[in-house]
């Protein structure tokens, strides 16, 4: 019994990380109807940036967030303004193909720079620290911290979206780009800021990913898929729905892994497909006005 409690708990906690993967993805889709296929690879890029930062400056991975987050935000802004803004429009193909091309470029660029060797960021004692929740049930401090950070990130995004001028600008531009222009909003700049915010979240997710597990240039697509599955399971248009979706995915994977380690990821896909078949709008969709 405690076995299963541990399994579910692990699943819930990793679900927070998946929710972070998903949050950046769904923000961009909400604001500019763009699905960034390179999203997962950008998470991995952030992990490598953190690697370089920690090695060059001799600081811990959590401290490196101070550098990695703004750096990735700037990269996001530049990426949007220089390349992705040109792909936006009626046609679905250009943004899809360009972000696909970006995915290939990032993966192979990282491969060329860092080789295919697995790397990991060392966070010290916090990685193995646990505390006892119940008899036989132990909670890792790091996963708990990561879960708390995920909640904080989602709450922060909600706040930005619904209580700040920037969030108003995002929502207005998403509703109607030409009318937003009439308000004095430069769409190119607004989209740039949205991508910057998305990559800031990606940076946080990337650093936690790097501390938690081995990473190499090829693991990007899987992160994109997990994020995407979390969004679909949770339902479009709702950040907290996405959070719930991440948890459902994490738990599904944990249960699958417990039955047979080779089934971990497959279990997640199956959960996704079941939701798609039975409740395609997701578990907690917010209906758009």
């Amino acid at each position: 019994m405690t076995d299963w409690i541990n399994v579910i708990l692990q699943g819930v906690l990793v679900g927070g990380l998946y929710a972070m993967f998903a949050a950046g993805l769904s923000l961009i889709f909400g604001v500019m109807r763009l699905v960034n296929i390179a999203h997962g690879d950008l998470i991995v890029l952030a992990a490598y940036v953190a690697l370089v930062t920690t090695e060059a400056l001799g600081i811990g991975p959590l401290v490196s967030l101070i550098i990695v987050v703004p750096l990735m935000a700037v990269i996001g802004y530049a990426l949007q303004r220089l390349i992705l803004n040109r792909t936006l429009g009626e046609d679905l193909l250009p943004p899809l193909l360009v972000t696909f091309g970006l995915s290939v470029i990032i993966q192979n660029g990282l491969l060329a720079l860092f080789t295919a060797d697995s790397r990991k960021l060392q966070a010290g004692d916090i990685e193995v620290a646990t505390f006892k929740l119940l008899e036989g049930v132990y909670v890792g401090i790091l996963p708990l911290l990561q879960f708390a950070v995920a909640i904080a990130v989602i709450a922060a995004l909600q706040f930005v979206f619904y209580r700040t001028a920037l969030g108003r600008a995002f929502r207005a531009t998403a509703d109607s780009p030409p009318v937003a222009q009439l308000m004095g909003l430069d769409n190119r700049h607004v989209f740039g800021l949205a991508m910057a915010l998305s990559l800031a979240v990606v940076a946080i997710a990337g650093v936690f990913l790097a501390i938690r597990a081995d990473f190499d240039p090829s693991i990007g697509p899987a992160r994109l898929i997990f994020g995407f599955e979390a969004v679909i399971i949770g339902g479009l248009g709702s950040m907290w729905g996405t959070f719930a979706g991440g948890i459902v995915l994490g738990v599904a994977q944990a249960i699958g892994a417990h039955i047979n380690p080779g089934w971990q990821i497959l279990a997640g896909h199956i959960a996704f497909l079941i939701i798609l078949a039975v409740r395609p709008e997701g578990l907690f969709p917010r209906i758009r006005a």
């Binding site: 250009p94 899809l96 696909f100 192979n108 898929i225």
Partner: protein
């Protein structure tokens, strides 16, 4: 005054004549070429076919899939399963694999068509991943590390090695010709007209009585059929299969997409041009490995941003050529003037 629809144009007559000549030359390859030549040509045929099918799906039906590797791998695994478990000759296994893949594609379409646009694309990727993970669970076919085709299966198809290589080469050539013919026929049929309408405006197409969903499912299933057969053939030639190779995103989707983008999406000549360019680049640059893929990505992005219609798109814009007789021209026979007047109905 009467009206008829003609497909051929002067450039397409020239193009078709050139194709006929090329076909004769290529069919004779076992006589003028060595084994390496035939292998290279087989690879080119495979990519032309895969890219043409992807183009049908994405460029004509508007269904952008980044998961076609699902059917490449499925076709390949079905062939190996038939050969190893059923003792079925590969020659029969190829079309059989295609049919079964088409049947599998129907429920898959039922699932994945619940997603639209970008989400559909990622959905197709997930399906491919599911197929890959399932394949690595099948231990009789080698599980995660894969397996080889038994020698008896290979030897059984012809008496000499020379004959075997020629036979496999001709199958590859026949397959790509069949795929292209199938695509041309589809586009010339009323389904092809429906696709054009859907591509221009789905809403208008629906209100004109076109069953959009059925047309899209049809195209998806036909594409799965063709893709699986190509996959079966490719891995038959390789004699070895593994989940990572059979369901590789790079080999069966990234390259295919780049070929189609660079050659020209939404026109049937595009993938052919793109494959030629792709292989020309590969022969000259392949040694660069990762950098090669990286450069392909850069080129694809540049093409997408500056010349989204690809190389063939630029040629069409400039000269209005077509190689395959596909453009519908409405011809009005004006009896009083005594001559037919031509007015192309689209561009």
């Amino acid at each position: 005054m009467s009206v008829r629809v003609a497909f051929a144009s002067r450039s397409s007559r020239v193009g078709m004549a050139l194709c006929a000549v090329a076909l004769v030359v290529l069919a004779a390859a076992p006589f003028w070429g060595g084994r390496d030549d035939m292998q290279l040509l087989s690879q080119i045929y495979a990519y032309v076919a895969l890219a043409s099918l992807w183009n049908l799906l994405a460029g004509y039906a508007g269904l952008v899939s980044v998961g076609q590797q699902a059917y490449v791998g499925l076709g390949a695994y079905l062939l190996f399963a038939f050969a190893i478990l059923g003792g079925v000759s590969p020659l029969w296994a190829i079309p059989l694999a295609g049919i079964i893949a088409a049947l599998v594609a129907i429920p898959v379409a039922g699932l994945v068509f619940r997603l639209r646009g970008h989400y559909f694309a990622i959905g197709t990727w997930i399906i491919a991943e599911v197929f890959r993970l399932l394949a690595s669970q099948v231990s009789v076919l080698g599980g995660g590390s894969g397996t080889s085709l038994p020698a008896s299966m290979v030897v059984g198809i012809a008496s000499t090695r020379q004959m075997r290589e020629s036979l496999v080469y001709w199958i590859a050539l026949a397959l790509v010709v069949a795929v292209l013919t199938l695509i041309v026929l589809l586009l010339r049929s009323r389904y092809g007209l429906a696709l054009k309408a859907i591509r221009d405006s789905e809403l208008a197409a629906t209100t004109n009585g076109i069953d959009v969903l059925r047309t899209k499912v049809l195209v998806y299933v036909v594409t799965a059929f063709g893709t699986a057969m190509i996959g079966a053939l490719i891995f038959f030639q390789r004699l070895r299969i593994s989940p990572d190779a059979a369901f590789s995103v790079n080999d069966w989707t990234a390259f295919v997409i780049f070929i189609t983008v660079i050659g020209g999406i939404g026109r049937i000549e595009g993938p052919i041009i793109g494959t030629i360019v792709f292989f020309a680049l590969r022969q000259t640059l392949a040694d660069l490995g990762t950098i090669y893929l990286l450069m392909l990505g850069v080129v694809a992005i540049l093409v997408m941003l500056t010349a989204p219609k690809g190389i063939w798109g630029l040629i069409v814009e400039r000269f209005g050529w077509q190689i395959f007789p596909l453009e519908r021209t409405v011809i009005l026979d004006d009896r009083s003037a005594g001559r037919g007047k031509q007015r192309p109905d689209d561009r």
